[in-house]
Amino acid sequence: MASVPHFQIQDLHVAVEGKEIVRGLNLTINGGEVHAIMGPNGTGKSTLASSLMGHHAYDVTSGSVTLDGQSVLDMSVDERARAGMFLAMQYPAEVAGVSNANFMRQALNARRGEGNELPVIKFHRLLQEKMKQLNIDPVFAERYLNEGFSGGEKKRNEILQMSLLEPRIAILDEIDSGLDIDALKIVAQSVNSLRSPDIGFLIITHYQRLLEYIEPDYVHVMMQGRIVRSGGKELAEQLEAKGYDWLKEELGIVDETVGVEA
């Protein structure tokens, strides 16, 4: 596990309720890299993220996804997580009656594996430390998981989990939405502090602003369920300045969503 992660998506097709949403997507992420995916609403970004994590609503109809050569698609959701995948969700579920701390301890121990569990006291110390870094009030440890959290609080809670679990491939779906500028900086700082050859990032966002704080190595644009253009961080700046129309024109795309083929 100590090796640099190598994550590869090849010709991925994903359908929801019989409708194809992701349509032949290729992407390779290596440890140490930060990839950003941008794209207009409804172009399949969240569908990609959810299907990589194994959400039950999404059917992978063809293609392959591997982490260090192992087929991710053959793993259950929890196996993917234990193999080192992490998805910070756009809309994480709320679970009443389950405390945040208890949930995170179970998750961390599952990730560490049987016989390697972190003692309770050590866990709480670690949790408090991470919460402090993310400027999360300590009372959130005992609050029920995401229940009644504001949008921004949920996002920070996702990042808290990421920093505890230290994944190998971290996918962040619109982690910046609902965050005020201070929270955005804190979240970015947390991501940056995790950056190392041991982890690769896939960051889905609509805003160049986030990418000012987390500098991407690659920027990809998604339309009609596939990556239509890739570049460096200057691509994000271009999109911020000019929107998507010029790109659509260049590519001859009329409707960028997955609803209608060009």
Binding site: D78, R80, R82, G97, F103, A110, Y144
Partner: protein, 428 residues
Amino acid sequence: MAEQTTTAAVPELVSAISTRFSEPAWLAAVRAEAWQTFDELPANRIEKSDLTKRSWDIGALPVAPGSLPEDAKTLVDSLEGPRVVVVDGVVVQADVPADLAAQGVVFGDLHALLAQHGDLIKRHLFSVVPASESKWTAANAAFWHGGVFLYVPRNVVIETPFTYVSVLTEVNQGAFPRVLVVGGENSAFSLAQVNVAGDNAPSHPHSSVTEVVADAGANIQVMSVNQLRKGPTNYLTQRAKVGKDAVVNWTFGDVGDGFTVALIESVLAGAGSRSLTKGLGIGFGRQHMDLTASMVHQGRYSESDIRLQGVLRGRANSIYRSSTHIERGAVGAGSEQHDRMLMIDTTARADAIPMLLIDENDVQRCGHAASVGKLDADQIYYLMSRGIPKDAAMRMIIWGYLQPIVEAITVPQIQTWLTGLVERKLTS
């Protein structure tokens, strides 16, 4: 009525109980009359619970109590404070700390206490749950023994919960626990009651009755945990009469695969009286559970709240009824009902039935919410996406759902015992 009542009970059994406990004439008379009622009355018709084929064979009077099943023994040995232990209808232990006795608290064997507190008992026994109200309350009134009496006088506040454990072992007949609780004006205390049946309890019917009298301003918490097994039919009738500004809260937990018909009712007689019923049921195997949580509002500005939660596995079938009756004159009464049932296996069945009967125009609020559903797939996915295996994720979610009710069992030993029981049923 073509009722099948295969009863082998004979009137002699009733008089034998009266004789064995040297009962006063009034009590022997109630018993004899209850026997008549029991013998003549058909079982109540309950929609969705067919009682016509349930046996009414009472069995013989136990000679000596059987030995405790391991699990029950662990619980009994762990208990502290004021407690009564009854095995097969025989009181085997009754401890009341001296400081409580000095405050006038009475707790122990109902029969034994008749000598000293006969008037008090006579005044209240059968006053809340009359012998004649159903076939099974009549059975209880005719055959009960090993009953328990708890009395806390006026203005006395007892922090330590009273505990009462009734165990049914495999050697004996059906049990008929009878509990009478009387709280004087402004008294405050709690009672935790545990009914356990061993795995091989015989198939005689089991009918338990709990009567609670809460005088003005009293605050009484009654917890009851039942682990009743398949075989016999279990009837439970628990009712409180709640006086002016008094509070009676019920917490009910049932973990089993038996056939159970239960009624938990508060009669909110006094103005400003309040009651909260929390119920939790874990059904498995071929369990049949028919639970009615009922609130009868008579007093002005009386308030009630019912919260029932069920978790069903296997072929369990549960019917949870929340019934609120606001009688004429209960001006400004308020009530809430929340029923939630979780189906773990597709073979389980559940009904959540809200019932509202409002005879008073001027009510403050009257809300109800009922749902029957499966575990939320997105919640399971979320926990799994952090590495938690599916089974563990499901257990965490179910526990999260049950926790508020389990926590209402404020006797740590009983809470732990219940937790263990639920845990075993969720993992098996």
